[in-house]
């Protein structure tokens, strides 16, 4: 469906281009060069974020994350969201840590919140996000993601309890 829509967008764009041609269209090479340059301008920002990810992966172990949980569902959901937001790396790692946390008796509320915030939040990428999208947008987006990670975790756990 996405690809069909993409083709539709390209087609409608092409139609519009033939209808209102006001200035000569730059060559694809020029557009590619412009996109590459604007991406290049962002490299220090991206390299810094990647550097922080590597440092975090070495300095913060899964055991350190597991030790944060206390066994209280609400508190653990909050902790799960916070630790997921502070963590960095491939989401696959979050599944492994999440599975381990469940085995250690940590509530599904917390594990669910942890999995969600791992991918939607990121303290490490905050400086980059602020630089690109501005402080206001970043603040609101992260607050929303934080709240919704907790709500989604609770709803998922409750629904699973009802279904079982």
């Amino acid at each position: 469906m996405d690809y069909v829509y993409f083709v539709y967008m390209i087609n409608s764009a092409a139609k519009d281009n033939t209808r209102n041609r006001t200035s000569p269209k730059p060559s694809f090479q020029k557009v590619l060069r412009k996109s590459s340059l604007s991406f290049l301008a962002m490299t220090p920002l991206l390299l810094a974020t990647i550097g922080l990810v590597g440092m975090f992966q070495v300095l913060v172990s899964p055991e350190m994350l597991a030790s944060l949980f206390r066994g209280h569902p609400l508190f653990d959901t909050f902790t799960g969201t916070l630790s997921g937001a502070a963590a960095a790396g491939n989401p696959m790692v979050s599944y492994i840590i999440g599975g381990e946390l469940l085995n250690q008796g940590i509530s599904l509320y917390a594990v669910c919140a942890f999995l969600l915030s791992w991918v939607t939040l990121g303290f490490i990428q905050l400086p980059a996000e602020i630089e690109v999208f501005g402080g206001r947008f970043t603040l609101y987006r992260n607050i929303l993601a934080f709240i919704f990670a907790m709500i989604t975790a609770m709803l998922t756990t409750i629904t699973l309890q009802v279904l079982s």
Binding site: S36, L46, L52, R141
Partner: protein, 171 residues
């Protein structure tokens, strides 16, 4: 007269400098950990280079074929329901870390993409299609289906909340 190109201005120079200082400090305190961290960062970089290439190509294709006016029509104020669905689908199919997509999203935003759609895009990235089999294996099919459903719903509601916040923005 030929239009002059803007000079290249690097962004995040001070952040990179701060991270390098952290590495220097870590190198002095624990050389082994510093080297391991560098190794891990290198591995992350190598892994996401293909995504960077995709992002550059995708940005170029969009800029070449689609005019800002058209982007605004599909992802801007006049986009309607299809804008929400497009942002949701783009978030689900996008791969790699969030920061790899900053450049493309910033470009689209400059062409009129609404902030609520950016929120939906980032929130729906919680669903990782290639990793779904692993999630099912670790947590079960029911968990994966229920969580994915709430994630998609949550992404849309987050976008709507952003829309409300934006409408109350002074000025």
């Amino acid at each position: 007269m030929k239009k002059q190109e803007k000079p290249l201005t690097f962004r995040g120079k001070y952040l990179l400098l701060t991270v390098l200082l952290f590495y220097g400090l870590l190198f002095l305190l624990d050389r082994q950990s510093a080297l391991l961290a560098l190794q891990k960062s290198g591995a992350v970089l190598i892994k996401i280079i293909p995504i960077f290439i995709v992002v550059i190509l995708f940005t170029s294709i969009l800029n070449y074929f689609i005019k800002p006016k058209q982007i605004a029509r599909h992802l801007g104020h006049e986009s309607g329901i299809k804008g929400w669905l497009w942002a949701l689908a783009a978030g689900v199919i996008s791969h790699g870390p969030m920061y790899a997509w900053y450049s493309l999203i910033e470009d689209l935003r400059g062409h009129g993409m609404k902030d609520e759609f950016i929120v939906v895009f980032f929130a729906s990235r919680a669903i990782k299609i290639p990793l779904l089999p692993f999630m099912i294996d670790y947590f079960g099919l029911t968990f994966t289906v229920v969580l994915s459903f709430y994630m998609l719903l949550g992404a849309l509601i987050q976008g709507m909340c952003m829309q409300i916040i934006q409408s109350k923005k002074p000025g």
